[in-house]
């Protein structure tokens, strides 16, 4: 018991000291997923991995297939640039979403004598055997964005919590509709664990509101173009007036949905309530049109957080087995609900003068994806 309490205190100190300062947004408290987690979060003793720097870190990336993943990779690079005195070599591989290639990539990284493996797994399950083998070989593994099944296959998992994001946005949607209405669900990429976890969590919430009717669920691959095309077809079939809300797990496809409504002649506050963060363009559309909106970013800053945690592991600092990174709840003015309050109101959060393609929550000062460049070790 004392050990667990000590561990929890240590964990709280770790998170507070390390991450709240790094993400300068409105909510600066401890991550809610940490605060409300009914279980204890184990603290991992990393003294057996401690060594003298500079360290050689291998990063096995799943993909850079969409805007969010591009910004996430920039965040990883930013994290490395903040630790140039400790990281001597940073080797990157990209599996293009193929788990079998990622397994081979990891083997190639191990053969190059890396001190630690940082990995964004392409799928939650398929990487389990190779990561287990990596750990048994004595090379610590830090997973980011997606975890694998076995606890023994990694030291720590860095996340912004897909389930919390989806539960909050779905609850907001159900409550803003007063528990009654016809809703379209626009999840991300079929089969990708973040998309499936968010969809399952959202359905769990909507199931508690008998008046909410899910009229269609369409995967979009987190693509604005797909979002627009799919929603245009649904509007054609159902009629714009018969759609009361659109739950989108990200603004990437959510922005396409809003554009489909505008294309169908539905503008301003006539556009039904939408959810979906991440993309500045989505925030801009909601701000310009004034329809009810809730945006929660799956913060790409988990990339930099994971790099920092990796360095901590190699320095022998105890780390939490799961590190939650803060997210912000952004709501349009006057549209807070009984359960979901805004951390920051939309007009204060939207970057009106910045490009619509900008992914929010990168944690990188003055971030511009087109001109982003940092100094890297090699």
């Amino acid at each position: 018991m004392i050990r667990k309490l000590f561990g929890t205190l240590l964990l709280g100190t770790f998170i507070a000291a390390t991450w709240t300062a790094a993400i300068a947004d409105s909510y600066v408290g401890l991550p809610r997923t940490f605060l409300w987690n009914p279980n204890f979060n184990e603290v991992i003793d990393t003294s057996s991995y401690a060594g003298d720097g500079p360290f050689k870190i291998g990063f096995s990336n799943a993909s850079q297939g969409d805007g969010w993943l591009g910004t996430f990779y920039h965040s990883v690079q930013y994290g490395v640039s903040q630790n140039l005195d400790k990281i001597g070599e940073f080797i990157v591989t990209d599996a293009n979403g193929d788990p079998t290639k990622q397994i081979s990539d990891i083997q190639d990284l191990l053969e190059q004598g890396i001190d630690l493996l940082l990995v964004n797994p392409a799928t939650a399950d398929a990487l389990d055997p190779i990561l287990g083998r990596t750990m048994r070989r004595g090379v610590p593994v830090v997973t980011v964005a997606r975890r694998v099944e076995s606890d023994s296959s990694f030291v720590s998992f860095v996340t912004a919590s897909d389930t919390a994001l989806a539960r909050m946005s779905a609850t907001w949607m159900a409550e803003i509709l007063n528990g009654k209405g016809r809703v379209v669900l626009l999840p991300g990429l079929a089969g990708a664990s973040p998309a499936e976890m968010r969809l399952e969590a959202a359905k769990e919430v909507f199931a508690q509101f008998p008046g909410i009717e899910i009229i269609d669920t369409q995967y979009t691959g987190w693509s604005p173009a797909n979002g627009r095309q799919i929603m245009a077809a649904i509007i054609q079939r159902e009629g714009a007036n018969n759609i009361d809300g659109v739950w989108s797990d990200s603004g990437l496809q959510g922005s396409g949905s809003v554009e489909a409504f505008i294309g169908a002649g539905v503008t301003g506050t006539d556009i039904p309530p939408h959810t979906g963060g991440d993309l500045n363009g989505m925030y801009q559309l909601a701000h310009e049109n004034g329809f009810p909106f809730a945006g929660i970013d799956y913060t790409p800053s988990i990339g930099a957080a994971a790099v920092q945690l990796s360095v901590d592991v190699l320095e022998g600092t105890p780390v939490p087995q799961r590190l939650d990174v803060n997210f912000q709840i952004v709501i349009s003015p006057g549209h807070e609900t009984r359960s979901i309050s805004a951390d920051v109101l939309l007009p204060e959060y939207v970057a009106v003068d910045r490009p619509g393609e900008l992914i929010m929550g990168s944690g990188i000062p003055n971030y511009d994806p087109t001109s982003f460049s940092v100094e890297l070790p090699n």
Binding site: V92, T100, D108, E111, Q112, D125, I130, E196
Partner: protein, 320 residues
């Protein structure tokens, strides 16, 4: 029936320009690797590459056999996917069926391959369309069953993908044995040599008394068999049945066939060229990883090499 023309075969193997091209490419990668990274040229790394190339190798054997008879199989990736899900889903519920399911999965692959061949022959539709249709049916069925990786296999089964005997990867050794057996079959057995005859000219083969339909059915069945074997390898490697795992393999399986000098259109080529093509693709990917080169640049480099290799064949008068 065994033939005694080994001397001629050896001479043809030595003179085959397609083998010379892929050997040259391999030599370039290996020499570059030795200069660019000291860890590249270790036996340990080469064994790693052999292990990594097994899945592509199995798939490419099947593709090569179909290409030799003048066809093409675009359902290989879908058969791999369906095999992984089929096997992992059943074994997850009935772990005691692990060994029977290996045979069951191979039989499943043979059955799908046989259907491909049968439909091609009966309908007269180009195999590209038939196998694309089969792929669509299989992929759709799998995604109806599950959208996410599913099932599982016992831990000991990982040894097929990761295990070593005298530091030689088990899967890599199985792949090389498969290539050798297929080479022996194609060159020393009458039915095997009939593959080339049917691919070269089905009409002429028919006039020579070769039962072309049987040969084509055998080629597609073999393709299904090796795709299922690749599926088994991927289950062993990932521990799950993945509804998307085969997606990139279909086109990947054609690349070593082209690099190895097999002619799309049938009738010519050496299966060892395909093996060298598989090893070349895997070594190139390995080297580019060692050089810390972005995946996107890797695609460009692979594309350029394929175009150059094919151009050389065309220049040599081989009509692709």
């Amino acid at each position: 029936m065994m033939l005694s023309k080994s001397n001629n075969r050896v001479r043809r193997l030595k003179l085959d320009p397609s083998l010379i091209i892929v050997i040259l490419l391999l030599a370039i990668v290996i020499v570059c690797g030795f200069f660019l990274n000291e860890r590249f040229g270790t036996m340990r790394n080469f064994m790693n590459v052999l292990e990594q190339s097994s899945g592509l190798g199995f798939a490419s054997i099947g593709q090569a056999m179909v290409v030799i008879v003048g066809g093409i199989d675009l359902s290989i990736g879908a058969i791999i996917t369906a095999s992984t899900v089929f096997m992992a889903a059943v074994v997850d519920v009935h772990p005691g069926l692990m060994i029977p399911m290996i045979f069951g999965t191979l039989l499943f692959g043979v059955a799908i391959g046989f259907c491909n061949g049968y439909l091609t022959l009966k309908t007269g539709v180009h195999p590209l369309i038939v196998t694309l249709g089969t792929a669509s049916i299989l992929n759709g069925s799998v995604l109806i069953y599950t959208l996410q990786p599913t099932g599982g296999v016992p831990y000991w089964f990982e040894e097929f993908a990761y295990g070593r005997i005298w530091n030689v990867p088990i899967s890599g050794a199985v792949m090389i044995v498969c290539f050798a057996l297929v080479w022996l079959f194609l060159h020393y057995y009458q039915t095997g040599r009939a593959f080339y005859a049917v691919g070269g000219s089905p009409e002429a083969a028919h006039l020579c008394g070769i039962q072309s339909n049987r040969v084509i059915l055998l080629a597609y069945s073999a393709s299904g068999f090796f795709a299922a074997l690749a599926g088994i390898y991927f289950v062993s490697r990932t521990g799950v049945g993945d509804p998307r795992i085969g997606d990139p393999i279909t086109l990947s399986s054609i690349t070593p066939v082209i690099l190895g000098g097999l002619i799309l259109g049938g009738g010519k080529g050496n299966i060892f060229g395909v093996l060298l093509g598989v090893i070349f693709i895997s070594l190139l990917s390995n080297l580019l990883n060692y050089m810390n080169i972005s995946t996107f640049i890797q695609w460009v480099i692979q594309g350029v090499i394929i175009i150059i290799a094919v151009s050389v064949y065309v220049h040599k008068g081989k009509n692709l």
